[in-house]
Symmetry: C2
Subunit: 401 residues, 2 copies
């Protein structure tokens, strides 16, 4: 564990940057949009931190690649256009974990999920898919589902709460697929109760639509349900999982389902330009990350709950949801975004601690917000210590006005 912290400004390597705004929102999300001297100095301060609240500890790029080399078996051969034991064995491992017949490794979730929805569209003869208003496909993919695949989206329910069965009942169009994101990231990582999940996926099937899981953070969602991945995945016809978020891999995703579904997905992967000559850097890091971190996700959830409980006692801090249902929560801080971020940078300079390295204005005036995400890094703090740091930052930001 190298003494570097883990948040957006540093962006040292995979683990460093989990759960920060995606690229096309990051710029406008950060309060200091055009780089200023103050922004550069803040970034520098965060880079030199020894501890970070969020994500996983990071290594230098070189150390990351050396570790990857170390993880390779002496006789292991590279994959080749998606073939070879290295990638095929890992795909089988993921399929087994998810209780599906097959899985295919893909460069990105953007690719995997569009492909899943297109397949369900081709099979059903329907072009409409349903998902939450904050779905990744709607917010971060430049409407690839429409511009590449000719699909239409029905946005279900309200942006600031989970989908309900009543929302689905109010969706009269014939659907190719219902996409459910577990957890719903953009509202603090909320999860539907198990019974609701069963009902909603059953509703989809009874209406001739496939249930597709956006499981970008499925690893983080499972502890709340107290069920294994396969049981959760059994409610869905297709499942996408990610390897570069909680798992901490360089990049990479998988799409799982029946063998027939996955065979079809491979054809679409080629069409997308995702059947790469070699995917081994991503596969190797996903494999290593999975083995290292899969056993830890329950502890991330536990720790997130403990930290949230301590933070909820701090004057001027609000959490959504509270208690967290996964490893994450939205943290609202009372104060001016610029002053709060500067106060966080001052803490970084004084204590070499990075609490948060970006903020965006909250919908409620007078509050700013960041996404708390608990990984390996948080183990370097006690909850009370964290609460103390937040108290300091909020007080300092208030006094700087």
């Amino acid at each position: 564990m190298t003494p570097q912290h883990t948040d957006q400004s540093s962006a040292r390597t995979a683990g460093a940057t989990t759960e920060t705004p995606t690229a096309d929102t990051a710029t406008r999300a950060t309060t200091a949009a055009p780089p200023t001297d103050a922004a550069t100095q803040r970034k520098q301060a965060f880079l030199q931190c020894e501890r970070s609240l969020n994500g996983h500890p990071t290594q230098t790029l070189r150390a990351e690649l050396l570790a990857l080399a170390e993880s390779v078996g002496a006789d292991e051969q590279p994959d080749r256009y998606g073939e070879g034991a290295l990638i095929e064995d890992f795909e089988r491992e993921i399929a087994a974990l998810l209780g599906k017949e097959a899985a295919v490794f893909m460069p990105s979730g953007t690719m995997a999920q569009q492909i899943a929805l297109r397949i369900w569209s081709e099979r059903s003869g329907r072009r409409t898919v349903a998902f939450h208003p904050t779905c990744h496909l709607e917010l971060h993919e430049r409407k690839g589902y429409e511009r590449l695949h000719g699909l239409h989206a029905t946005l279900v329910g309200d942006a600031d709460r989970l989908i309900t069965l009543d929302d689905l009942r109010a969706t009269p169009e014939p659907l190719a697929a219902l996409l459910l994101e577990l957890p719903q990231r953009e509202i603090g990582g909320q999860l539907p109760e198990w019974d609701a999940l069963v009902e909603q996926t059953a509703w989809a099937r009874s209406h001739g639509a496939a249930a597709h899981m956006d499981g970008a953070r499925l690893w983080e969602a499972a502890p709340y349900y107290g069920r294994d991945y396969a049981e959760i995945a059994s409610l869905f016809e297709s499942v996408y999982v990610s390897f570069y978020k909680g798992i901490g891999a360089i990049t990479g995703a998988a799409l799982a389902g029946t063998a027939e579904f996955v065979a079809e997905a491979r054809i679409w992967q080629r069409r997308h330009g995702g059947n790469l000559f070699h995917l081994y850097p991503y596969v190797l890091s996903a494999r290593a990350g999975l083995r290292e971190r899969l056993p830890r996700f329950a502890s991330y959830h536990t720790r997130a709950v403990e930290i949230a409980a301590a933070l909820a006692q701090v004057e001027g801090v609000i959490l959504k949801p509270n208690p967290p249902q996964t490893h994450m929560a939205h943290v609202y801080l009372r104060g001016a975004p610029d002053a709060l971020l500067e106060a966080s940078a001052e803490l970084a300079r004084e204590q070499r601690v990075a609490l948060f390295t970006w903020l965006r204005p909250a919908p409620v005036p007078g509050y700013a917000m960041f996404e708390l995400n608990i990984g390996d890094s948080a183990a370097a703090f006690t909850p009370d210590e964290i609460a103390g740091y937040f108290t300091r930052v909020i007080e300092r930001a208030a006094s700087s006005r």
Copy 2:
């Protein structure tokens, strides 16, 4: 340089597998389609070779990653969703090399080229694109251009020769773009003469169509023209280049054009799912490969011409084209494919030399064919030595009948 040879059966790493059949033709192209004991034994024999005629020498997967780690500057930071100095500096380097305003690094040429054609389609309001019947988009991409982008292809000219101006004149439909592949891989890497290239790209422009270069092997094509990359690229509005073939990178491609074109391409890259969280393993290996091998492409061409001249003297060997215009040629061998491949494996066992590790039946009965591709590996032989080995293989195959 580790003592391993470089061809399809070994597939040790990037350089090992340059210029072998693409994945969706490889299986049916190899004479022994279902793995047999003989096929396994042949593969083993090729794997243990100390010298190979084709491609570049290979390393173990671990050594490849260690070399990658060594190439990283101590202060270098990972790219993040396509941003950061590491990837942006490399993109600028490629743009400068090609004399274009901008370039974008992409995971694959399949992605890059579909995107280029879609952009020209959106700009022209035309849905038809023109290319050679053996174009990669037509043969190897499962018609992604049509299924993802709604484009239609007009195949220009005949599959077994280069496109001519008369072929273009016989294409009356309004075109969004004309794609020219330099060199035309599937006919042995043939190149149009410079004047023809100038005429054809001018024809495209005069008909309101963009000229797009499939420069998967542009590095290998330039020596024939005796012109720099930028001068060749100046005939085209957009240029795709690859890094994992002659350059020997793990994977990767770039698309170059005006700044506006490239900005648009980045949006489509996101839609395709190619705006990956990290691309650094590919960027780093492309950067290292480019620095190492860019100065050598003229020598690959010279050596290919020398080897072809020696091979042309061997009874039962025919080359297309002869002399080679690039680093490659199609080599037709008289004999039964199975017997020839087995004779090559016997040579591998006796001499630890891999001449060719796959064959496919030639259109002319009684001949089999493979793709000669000259990289660093061929330096381990004299042309006469190569001719001698081919004589032995053909005689042995003939006597085994």
